[in-house]
């Protein structure tokens, strides 16, 4: 197990003249045993960062340390790091047994019997002991995934790297494997860096989440932190599904005035002191329908999506598209005019120019759970 220290990591691609900066001055520490998820849109540098940690890419500048030991110039095979690839990268000409045992055969002097024993142990742990003599092409996606995991964990690496390992699985299997991966990681207690573009996966799995955009680290924090207290508009927009509603509003005394007759009166005016304009953000789940005459967001419903347990209302407020998550009983017909409102504690405000956060959620995060815990059960 190891603590990973990434300092001022920079990675450029391309020849001089037309360089693309994939990762720019990234500083990050992944604690011993931590499950860190890198998330961001395509091309944000998350996979490149992972590959630099793996030793598959040379860094342009900066350093990577495992437990204080600088590994920046070490090759991949010298780093004691295991990686699971998006397409599993199983060796097609080897059986499952050979695939899982391959790293041990290469990196240790253990005898064949010892290796076989260890392979069987791992296979049992992953529930694939009956597949040991099959070739990868005979396996389903989920089984291939498990073999890839087995190959990664067999030599007790210091660091686990996973590059979108679940993206080739169907939705149901993905959620099963998600849980399995988490359990496995907790059981093995290996420092893990996990890359995904799926923010739901990131929120569900990560001890902490590192959000990247255009090669720059935007924020690091646990799921609650990045959801409730995003550092900027990008993080607020990326985390949460459906994504946050954003409107540019003028500040008129204590009132925020926006397109389509949006008007919201602030209780605490200090948030917008000295500002004439501000970006207003409200999460779909914080919007609620209110009776006629009240409400700050008059809009027209364009589409209603019935999810069973809830409904997504898509509406237009002037030129702005809004999304609201409402209880499944609320089903206004398409084309109807409605009004939404939200609480000030759920309001996000961002600077118009820098897009940095001005205000994030302020309500209680924890309502206390002592009364719900029944130790006698």
């Amino acid at each position: 197990m190891a603590t990973i220290d990434i300092t001022k990591l920079r990675k450029e691609f391309g020849d001089e003249g037309e360089q693309i900066v994939a990762v720019e001055d990234l500083d990050l520490t992944i604690e011993d045993g931590e499950f860190m998820v890198f998330v961001g849109p395509s091309g944000c540098g998350k996979t490149t960062t992972l590959r630099c940690v793996a030793g598959l890419e040379d860094v342009s500048s900066g350093s990577i340390e495992f437990d204080g030991v600088d590994v920046t110039d070490q090759r991949a095979r010298e780093r004691n790091v295991a990686m699971v690839f998006q397409n599993y990268a199983l060796y097609p000409h080897m059986t499952v047994r050979k695939n899982i045992g391959f790293p041990l055969r290469l990196s240790t002097k253990q005898s064949s019997d010892e290796i076989d024993e260890r392979v069987e142990e791992i296979a049992t742990l992953l529930g694939i002991e009956s597949l040991l003599d099959d070739k990868p092409k005979e396996l389903s996606g989920g089984q291939q995934q498990r073999v890839a995991l087995g190959r990664a964990i067999i030599r007790d690496p210091e660091v686990f790297l996973m590059d979108e390992p679940l993206s080739n699985l169907d939705a149901k299997l993905r959620s099963v494997m998600r849980t399995e991966l988490q359990e496995l990681q907790q059981e093995l207690d290996v420092t893990t860096a996990y890359v995904t573009h799926d923010q739901v996966e990131a929120m569900a799995m990560g001890d902490r989440i590192a959000i990247l955009n255009e090669g720059r680290l935007q924020q690091v924090g646990d799921a609650n932190e990045v959801y409730r207290s995003p550092t900027n508009e990008f993080v607020a927009g990326f985390i949460g599904s459906p994504s946050i509603n954003l409107v540019t509003a003028e500040v008129d005394g204590d009132t925020l005035v926006g397109p389509g007759n949006f008007e919201y009166v602030l209780d605490d005016v200090s948030w917008v002191d000295g500002r004439s304009r501000v970006r207003v953000g409200v999460r779909p789940e914080d919007m609620h329908l209110v009776e006629d005459g009240a409400g700050s967001m008059p809009s027209e419903v364009t589409v209603v999506e019935h999810m069973g347990n809830e409904n997504f209302l898509y509406a237009r407020m002037g030129e702005v598209d809004l999304t609201a998550r409402v209880p499944s009983k609320m089903r206004p017909p398409e084309g109807s005019r409605v009004r939404f409102d939200f609480d000030e504690e759920d309001l996000y405000l961002f600077d118009v120019d820098t897009q940095e956060s001005v205000k994030t959620k302020t309500g209680e995060t924890d309502v206390g759970y002592e009364q719900y815990v029944h130790n006698s059960v």
Binding site: L56, R77, V81, A82, M83, A89, Y91, M94, S107
Partner: protein, 278 residues
Amino acid sequence: MRRETRNDALWKFGSYIFLLTITALVLIPIYWMLVAATIPQSEFFSWPPRLLPGLHYLQNFQALQESVDFIRSIGNSLIIAVSYTALSLVLCSMAGFAFAKYEFRFKEPLFYAILATLVLPIQLLIIPLFLLITQIGWTNSYLAVILPWAANPLGIFLMRQNMKAIPDALLESARMDGATEFQLYYKIALPTMIPSLSALAIILFLNQWQAFLYPLIVLQEEKMFTIPIALAQLVGQQRVNFDQVMVATSLAIIPIFLMFIFLQQYFIKGILSGSVKQ
């Protein structure tokens, strides 16, 4: 619907007729070679021609062995073709692997330079090669035939094209598992390339088995003759020993047949591999 089925059947019938015709055209000379190998020279041009094999095969073979040491030639040919094929497979696959999976300075120009040598006719290379071989003192040796052509540009090209299909993730995964660069080549790249290697093996073996002009120049002693050179000895100015030629060719095609039958499962896969996304 009904008409379509009939058209399909007609089309299929036509295709079979066409294929049978082609097969017959290919098989008739081979059959004639086998018949001719078993009859005495005197019956060779008789009319009507003999259609059934005779009993003269062993006598013909004896005559052949007296004219040229044909058994030795077979041995020479086998040694040269087999070692050439093995060496060339190693060299071509290594070069192909490097061109397909590594980045290095002047990679593209170097690759195209190798490809460009394909258009050089053998006649252009023979004199400089002969001078070189003589200077080294390799005339009348197996090495003289094997080495100069071992790095085969066509083979390098074929291997490079096929190895490009090996996913990068597979090699990276092996690197993470602790493989050295050479282990990547022989533990990952080579085993996944067996179909292409088999296809290339047949091409290389065939090339060397039937090579005539270059071996004729560097192998001057009879004990070093390969099959094609030995065959050439049977063609005199006044007289061609057709019976012996036919016995010799009937023996010469056996290794090729065997090799093709043995490797064809891979060979056919090798031709198709890369044509569709797996």
